[in-house]
Amino acid sequence: MAHKTSTTFVRASLVALLAGAVPVLAQGPPAATIGTDLSGEWAPRFHEDQPERIPGPDIGDYLGIPLNAAARLHADSWDASILTLPEHQCKPHPADYSPRGPANLRIWREFDGPSQQLIAIHTHISWQQPERTIWMDGRPHPPEYAAHTWQGFSTGKWDGDMLTVTTTHLKMGWIRRNGIPRSDKAVLTEHFTRHGEYLTLISVIDDPVYLTEPFVRTTNWALDPHQQIAPYPCQYVVEINREQGYVPHHLPGTNTFLGEFAAKFGLPLEPTRGGAETTYPEFASKMKDMTPAKAAGK
């Protein structure tokens, strides 16, 4: 093991010296690579998935999501009125969804002064101002009995100039804002890459509770040094005076809105119900034999 460590050290030092990027100290371990600097003010780009991300998804639009029957029932039962409950009003988007919304993004780095080691990368996003800390110092994730948070617990490592982040300890959240759930058992893997003034995030959600396959999305930003992110305070209020404990939802089989999305776009109902099969190109050929949904009353 010692030999391997030594070899690794020599190899890393040589690479660093050749690259001229990282000074190698005579004493102590080599400085951890710090990859590319992602710091800055980043303005979101919405060319991808804009209808879903900004106006919001239609009820019953499960297109392209490898969800299972449990997730489908959860979404079928979801009633947007639940967001009127005071306890639901100020929920921020969780780490996996936050980049998808109004997501003006700030990234900055934190260094340990004496050693100049990169300790963490921080992010701040505009809507509901979620802040994340991506630990870069090799610390372990907390035990399972520790609290889960909206942003989870994140650790990062550099794969060349690509920052790969692993996040656990997420609260139960959502994959799409129409009731498609993401469980608190999910693990989020993210890959950040910078190409000049553009930043791309590839996110992968593995959820053993609600997904049958990993769910992959990409999101983009452009550098905007003049960006100013406003504060985003949230104060919940009683919007509707209801009896204690009322939870809006649709009983199974009673949600009459589920077919509207398919009818609106002239799609067969089947692909709108989602599932891994519908995410593959071969499914398009099957759709030829399916009947487009019709709007109610037509």
Partner: protein, 363 residues
């Protein structure tokens, strides 16, 4: 400190033999309630399901509970204010520490008492003054005797010397009723484990370690003797098994539990909890089993149980049989996270309990 005429409410007829079995299991450490549903995709840091123990019968026992591993470790997690959470001793244990000494909410399984004391001693050398029991189950009161004996409550005046021996043990009176037995009958727990400082009202108040505590009874919920403990300055709720992050709620109908009471208790805790910002932090809630939580986690759980209740209620209203309700899969969207097909508390048992409660309410 009050001594109570003990009512035989805990002991159903012809239960003596079964009681002996349960007592034996309790003191052998097998009669536990340390429930762990199979976790989907066992991820990092998750505990594997514990092996199943033989099923105790009678005395209101709901069948087999997974026995904790013999080498169970007790972990300590700082919560906030004066509060720590101990995990791994059976049910979660809340520890409040301050100048006045140590207060425990629940004591875990009997066989883990030494580990609990050792964990407390890593935090403070102050005496254990109080134990509060959230309910009667052995994974929450099992350490009462061993841990309580090491403590000392503050007593004196007219009660004389010796009154302060052992920690004071507090609970709702129904917990005492179920842990004790009328004269001449064998009690399921030794007298030194009994919560002899009880209350029969909506709540009991205590001021300890510089903060006010509300011990609030939640009638007919997980059992008939549930209390939540709210530490007002630390802003932490100790929920007992009214809220767990591991399974659907265990409705111990044999001991007076009812799904309606559980939902009411969840709503009451939601009323107490106030998040710090963006629906996170602020009031923390220590569940009976599982991980540390805040209001958002409690909210998801309340929403889930309410939705399932409404689905089953709809079936009851439409005259469906239990089998018809089960065939409708009213828990499908939550099964992979909260359900179990084997072990101590299965999804089927949960649905049956809810159906039974709601069917009774309909009549």
């Amino acid at each position: 400190m009050r001594r109570h005429a003990v009512k035989p409410a805990f002991v159903p007829k012809a239960a003596a033999a079964a009681a002996a079995v349960l007592i034996a299991l309790v003191y052998a450490g097998a009669g536990t309630e340390a429930r762990q549903a199979p976790q989907p995709g066992a991820g990092r840091g998750q505990q594997p399901p514990a092996p199943a123990a033989p099923a105790p019968q009678g005395r209101g026992g709901r069948g087999a509970a997974p026995a904790p591993a013999a080498d169970a470790e007790v972990h300590t997690l700082f919560v906030q204010g004066n509060i720590y959470m101990l995990v791994g001793a059976g049910g979660n244990i809340t520890v409040q520490i301050g100048d006045d000494g140590v207060l425990l909410v629940d004591t875990g399984l009997a066989q883990n008492a030494e580990k609990v004391v050792a964990a407390v001693r890593t935090l403070t050398n102050k005496p254990i003054r109080y134990i509060i029991n959230t309910h009667v189950h052995p994974d929450h009161v099992g350490g009462n005797e061993a841990i309580g004996r090491l403590g000392s409550t503050i007593a004196g005046g007219n009660v004389g010397a010796g009154a302060g021996v052992g920690a004071g043990i507090l609970a709702h009176e129904n917990v005492l009723n179920r842990m004790s037995a009328p004269t001449g009958q064998q009690a399921p727990f030794p007298t030194t484990a009994w919560p002899t400082d009880t209350y029969i009202t909506k709540q009991k108040e205590l001021f300890f370690n510089g903060e006010a505590l509300q011990i609030i009874h939640q009638p007919s919920a997980h059992t008939d003797g549930d209390s939540i403990v709210y530490f007002r300055k630390s802003d932490v709720i100790s929920a007992g098994d009214l809220f767990v992050t591991t399974t659907f709620p265990f409705v111990d109908q044999a001991r007076g539990g009812n799904i309606t009471g559980i939902i009411a208790a969840l709503n009451n805790m939601l009323d107490i909890a106030i998040p710090k910002a963006m629906q996170e932090g602020g009031t923390y809630i220590i569940p009976g089993h599982g991980r540390l939580t805040d209001e958002a986690d409690l909210l998801e759980y309340r929403d889930m149980i309410t939705i399932i209740r409404d689905r089953i209620q709809d079936g009851v209203k439409r005259g469906q049989t239990l089998e018809q309700v089960k065939a409708g899969k009213p828990t499908l969207d939550y099964d992979a996270r909260w359900g179990a097909t084997s072990g101590f508390w299965t999804t089927d048992q949960f649905i049956e309990a809810v159906y039974k409660d709601l069917s009774k309410a309909k009549k």
